[in-house]
């Protein structure tokens, strides 16, 4: 349905993806207004429980954006993220929640355009997937 406005949560790490988002802003790269950024110190500090909480309570999509492997301000923080999120996606898939609602990607401080691309494509993907089925499911 066309007027479906997806609500999307994005975790951005202070050193790379948050700075990339800032650069996208400074370069006035336009993107859909459905993404809400939470600044964390490192993508590795994003607890999978947050993602589960968000998805199970109606958030349509969660973006976890960290530094490129090797760029992490905290050395190998983003390695852990790179291990956790795929497993989380599989578990959600097992439970029937479409794993494409969760996306992990790497955006460096100099990649304003990539941030715009990731955000815009993710919103399109979520729009295609439609609203989160768990929204109406009343437990």
């Amino acid at each position: 349905m066309t007027d479906f406005k997806p609500s999307i949560l994005a975790f951005c790490c202070n050193w790379c993806s948050y700075a990339g988002a800032d650069l996208a802003g400074v370069s006035r790269l336009q993107m859909p207004p459905n993404v809400h950024v939470i600044r964390v110190m490192c993508s590795a500090s994003v607890k999978p429980e947050y993602v589960i909480k968000a998805v199970t309570q109606g958030i349509d999509g969660v973006l976890v954006l960290g530094c490129h492997i090797g760029d992490c301000h905290y050395l190998t923080g983003n390695h852990r993220t790179a291990k956790r999120i795929p497993l989380l996606q599989k578990i959600l898939d097992e439970a029937g929640i479409d794993s494409r609602r969760i996306k992990l990607d790497w955006v460096s401080a100099a990649e304003g355009e990539k941030y715009q691309k990731v955000v815009t494509e993710f919103v399109e993907e979520i729009r295609r997937l439609g609203p989160n089925p768990l929204r109406e499911v009343r437990f």
């Binding site: 650069l23 400074v26 370069s27 006035r28």
Partner: protein, 433 residues
């Protein structure tokens, strides 16, 4: 006891030098001719190549400068005399009368509203007016009013006096006198920056003749949200949004009859201003007349590519020779030779023309050089004799940084300003190499 260091000129170079010196533990006296620190960078809307809003990255440093316990500000003051030599200089600072009690004034602005006499504002490059009692710009530091004696009816011919009545803080004091502050200083840092060349000296460009020919600094003010037009891109003659506008580079620079040197920053700020212009007025078409597109810094080439590709800026490698009034009194006719193959004289009509005049060593650079008989190079910048110390002037103990030494952009000025702090520490720790 902390040694005293006097820094003359509070542009970005002076501010950065003062902050680094103060962080190193020296007691800094920062002298600024105008009522507020900030220098020309305060007038800029954005800075290249990241388009950071200039005031947003400058005001934190200005505030840190004002609040740093090791820095004493002497604004609206000039260097009266410098005697002695390294490391015991005697500096006389003439603090001009502001007719305002700095401790009481809160910068609320009630007086400005009532003041009757209007004066063209230097900060807005004459595009809008300020009052006789004024605050140079909203984010001024110190945020205190100043009464400009020449234009104040009360001080000049003892009439009016409305600001005294209106000021609840009772900060106005018409018989305040300027004073001379004597201080001794171990090292003197000169950061007197640049002045924009007055383009009326080149009548062929029509500055001051055609209304729609403006200087680049005026255009920066037009683009600025806190500027005279509130950020709306309109042309001076009829306040209409220009459809096509052009930049002319090297006005007075790279010109054997005026200034042979290249002012280093005009190519980049013209590109920046053109990108900003397309943001303010999306369907404006922009042409930049240039000689060599000197985009040499980090991210500069990509910046120019972006201007070309996603903002449709047209770069023409040619220097216009003549600018005449188009029809009526708005718009201009620019005649230049088409570059390359055709090579024939063409004149095109533009709604608005922005000149990028030469950036000259400032008048205070000359005054101070005369006062200390320091050597200037043939372009009027301070000579730095020893290549190992780019910030050492021809006199020991007197250091220079920023535009007073050579044309350079903000990052280089900031680097030199920090370099001055290192040299000061070297000189004063006796370990001079």
């Amino acid at each position: 006891m902390k040694e005293n260091v006097v820094v003359i000129g509070a542009g970005i170079a002076g501010i950065q030098a003062s902050l680094d010196l103060a962080d190193m533990g020296f007691s800094v006296h920062l002298i600024e001719k105008t009522p507020s620190i900030g220098g020309h960078m305060a007038q800029l809307d954005k800075t290249f190549p990241t388009n950071d809003c200039s005031m947003c990255i400058l005001s934190p440093k200005m505030i840190m400068c004002a609040e740093h316990e090791n820095i004493t500000l002497h604004t609206y003051s000039e260097v009266d005399s410098i005697a002695g030599d390294f490391p015991r200089f005697k500096v006389g600072i003439r603090e001009k009368a502001r007719y305002i009690d700095l401790n009481r004034c809160t910068g609320c602005g009630d007086c400005v509203a009532k003041c009757p006499s209007k004066v063209p504002s230097e900060f807005e490059e004459g595009l809008s007016i300020r009052k006789a009692i004024y605050l140079p710009f909203p984010q001024a530091v110190p945020r205190k009013m100043t009464i400009d004696a020449e234009n104040c009816r009360k001080i000049k011919d003892n009439k009016c006096g409305v600001c005294l009545k209106v000021c609840q803080a009772g900060a106005v004091d018409y018989d305040q006198k300027g004073r001379i502050v004597e201080l001794d200083a171990a090292v003197i840092v000169i950061a007197t920056g640049f002045d924009l060349m007055d383009a009326t000296a080149l009548p062929q460009f029509g500055y001051g003749i055609c209304k729609d020919v403006v200087s680049s600094m005026q255009f920066e003010r037009i683009l600025s949200a806190s500027g005279p037009t509130g950020g709306h891109l309109v042309r001076p003659s009829d306040d209409k949004e220009p459809v096509n506008l052009a930049f002319v580079q090297c006005v007075g620079s790279r010109d054997a009859k005026n200034h042979l040197y290249c002012s280093s920053v005009c190519c980049m700020y013209a590109t920046k201003e053109s990108i900003l212009a397309t943001e303010h007025a999306p369907d404006v078409k922009i042409t930049i007349f240039y000689m060599d597109m000197r985009a040499v810094g980090k991210g500069f080439q990509e910046f120019v590519q972006r201007a070309k590709k996603s903002h449709g800026v047209r770069y023409v490698r040619s220097r216009p020779a003549k600018v005449q009034q188009a029809n009526g009194d708005n718009g201009v006719l620019v005649s230049y030779e088409t570059p390359g193959m055709t090579g024939e004289p063409v004149s095109e009509e533009y709604d608005m023309l922005i000149l990028c005049p030469a950036l000259l060593p400032s008048s205070s650079t000359r005054e101070i050089a005369k006062m200390l008989d320091m050597e200037l190079d043939d372009d009027g910048f301070f000579r730095t004799p020893d290549i190992r110390y780019p910030t050492d002037s021809s006199k020991k103990g007197i250091l220079i940084c920023g535009f007073s030494g050579a044309p350079m952009d903000i990052p280089d000025s900031v680097s030199q300003a920090s370099g001055v702090a290192a040299r000061t520490a070297e000189l004063l720790s006796g370990g001079d190499r």
